[in-house]
């Protein structure tokens, strides 16, 4: 059965994020206060996700390399998006992610004071990736770049849990129809199954997100339908997680969310990337 391989230090898997850095990512995201630009919200979400992954892999003796992680940006340029000591690196073992954030910011978090109120608490917020918004949306090019990286990874890890690629964008590709490049990426496989491609479309306006759909009916335009079509079906374990979180799922449910707001984005990333078979 595919998508059941163990994720262990001896058999790690990889996660690759493709981040739209086009000019429109400067636009405000959702209706929250204070208003954030989409690029800032995405950077926060990715930094938070990396932080959670490091913490997940932290054990008594340090951080276990269950995952190798990469972030590619696409806008004026297509390339790796890590800052600091990891600049220029494509797939990085999670222990290096843990030990080399570009910087650690102090942020204020409101926490429950146990008596019905909120108190401010200073927390450490490591940052690996900063927001950029400039240029077009060369989605075909970034998918081809991802294909090269994943192909190399699979040569070295032929029996891994299949790689997961998460594409985060607010719009349409400006270098052509991404279907072919997406299919070529998904055709790359380990002995446990094909590479997974999930797509997260970020909302330009405040409207209800369409989360984990199993049909393209109800999607408003050809670009949304295109992103749905290039998204992989959720593997069974991920489908179960989505179901436990209250989503209605079927065998056709795709790793796709349309018009995501901040909450939908974070839930999508959390559900889509949650491993069920760490050893």
């Amino acid at each position: 059965m595919p998508y059941t391989a163990e994720i262990s230090r001896a058999n790690p898997t990889c996660l690759l994020f493709l981040i739209d850095q086009s000019g429109s990512m400067q636009d405000p995201f959702g209706s929250g206060e204070p208003v954030k630009k989409k690029a800032e919200a995405v950077a926060d979400a990715i930094n938070r996700l990396l932080q959670n992954f490091v913490i997940k892999c932290a054990k008594d003796e340090g951080v276990r390399d269950y995952f190798h992680v990469g972030v590619l940006g696409y806008g004026v340029e297509v390339g790796t998006a890590f800052g600091g000591a990891l600049r220029g690196r494509e797939l990085v073992p999670i222990s290096d992610i843990a030990n080399y954030p570009a910087r650690i910011e102090e942020r204020v978090k409101k926490v429950d004071d146990g008596a019905g109120g909120l108190i401010s608490q200073n927390i450490k917020f490591p940052v690996w990736f900063d927001p950029i918004a400039n240029g077009g949306t060369p989605m075909c090019q970034v998918l081809q770049h991802a294909q090269r990286i994943i192909s190399e990874w699979l040569k070295a890890h032929p029996n891994c849990f299949p790689p997961l690629v998460v594409n985060m964008t607010d719009g349409e590709s400006t270098d052509g129809d991404p279907s072919e490049a997406a299919q070529a990426l998904k055709n790359l496989k380990s002995s446990d199954g094909e590479t997974l491609l999930f797509n997260l479309h970020l909302s330009a306006q405040a409207c209800t997100p369409i989360e984990f759909p199993d049909t393209e009916l109800g999607l408003p335009d050809q670009y949304a339908k295109q992103l749905f079509q290039i998204s992989s079906a959720l593997p069974e374990a991920t489908r179960k997680i989505a179901q436990q979180e209250g989503y209605r799922v079927s065998a056709n449910t795709r790793g796709f969310t349309f018009n995501a707001d901040m909450v939908a984005m974070i839930k999508f990333l959390e559900i889509g990337t949650r491993p069920s078979n760490l050893r």
Binding site: E6, V54, A58, D60, A98, K124, R279
Partner: protein
């Protein structure tokens, strides 16, 4: 009252013996009361082995964990913090999440036995090689990847709400198996498939044969690759 006992354990395939995160403990001396406990430290928490050991050792001294709770939490936190100074940012964040473990305790007195459990470590009570009761899970379908576990950050009040209890009487020669989840799930599957040799197979295991037995089950994908612990007890009414 006299209790024969044996215990077998093995880490996950691919992990070293030091990375085994289950724990077990027994206090079987004395005619009045005997105790045994096993715990399964959760892979995704750190210092899970430490937490599992603290729990089983505390229970085998005194089955009432309520008055010991604050001390157990403090000891877990202090030992974990002493592991490195200063703690890297991720270790600090992970400690705030706490240690997690599934837990099963069994107390036997000359009149009866009583068990308490939280999570998916299981007890099997046998009489004349017939399964009398499985506790707290009764079927192999009940195992899932995310049971509620004993957390070092939780209040005792909340833990106590989730604890399951069972008690019954025992007779001369009754047996108990205490198993961590992977092997417990396999046992229930075998029992459901009416494997007549199941309990004899488990009884016959020893430290020399156990690794191969487990490796074969893992190889045949009958057993999830997880830490494995098996404690076997047989109770006798007389001391001889």
């Amino acid at each position: 009252m006299r209790i024969e006992h044996s215990a077998l354990f093995l880490p996950k395939r691919g992990n070293t013996a030091a990375e085994y995160e289950d724990a077990f403990s027994y206090q079987l001396q004395g005619a009045e009361v005997a105790r045994c406990a096993i715990a399964d430290g959760a892979t995704e928490s750190s210092f899970a082995k430490l937490w599992a050991e603290l729990l089983v050792n505390a229970y085998s001294q005194d089955a009432n964990l309520a008055p010991q709770w604050a001390d157990l939490q403090a000891r877990w936190s202090a030992s974990a913090r002493n592991s490195a100074q200063p703690l890297p940012w991720y270790a600090e964040a992970k400690l705030a999440h706490g240690g997690f473990a599934a837990f099963l305790g069994l107390e036997i007195t000359p009149e009866k036995w009583q068990a308490c459990a939280l999570g998916d470590c299981c007890l099997f009570h046998l009489r004349n090689s017939e399964l009398q009761q499985a506790f707290p899970l009764q079927t192999s379908q009940e195992f899932n990847q995310s049971p509620f576990l004993v957390s070092s950050q939780d209040t005792w009040k909340n833990i106590a709400k989730h604890l399951a209890w069972l008690e019954n009487t025992w007779e001369e020669g009754d047996e108990f198996f205490l198993l961590s989840d992977a092997l417990a799930c396999w046992c229930l599957q075998q029992h459901e498939q009416h494997n007549p040799d199941l309990w004899q197979q488990l009884r016959d295991l020893n430290p020399d044969t156990f690794p191969e037995f487990i490796a074969n089950l893992r190889e045949q994908q009958q057993l999830r690759n997880d830490d494995v612990t098996l404690v076997h007890l047989r109770v006798h009414a007389v001391t001889s």
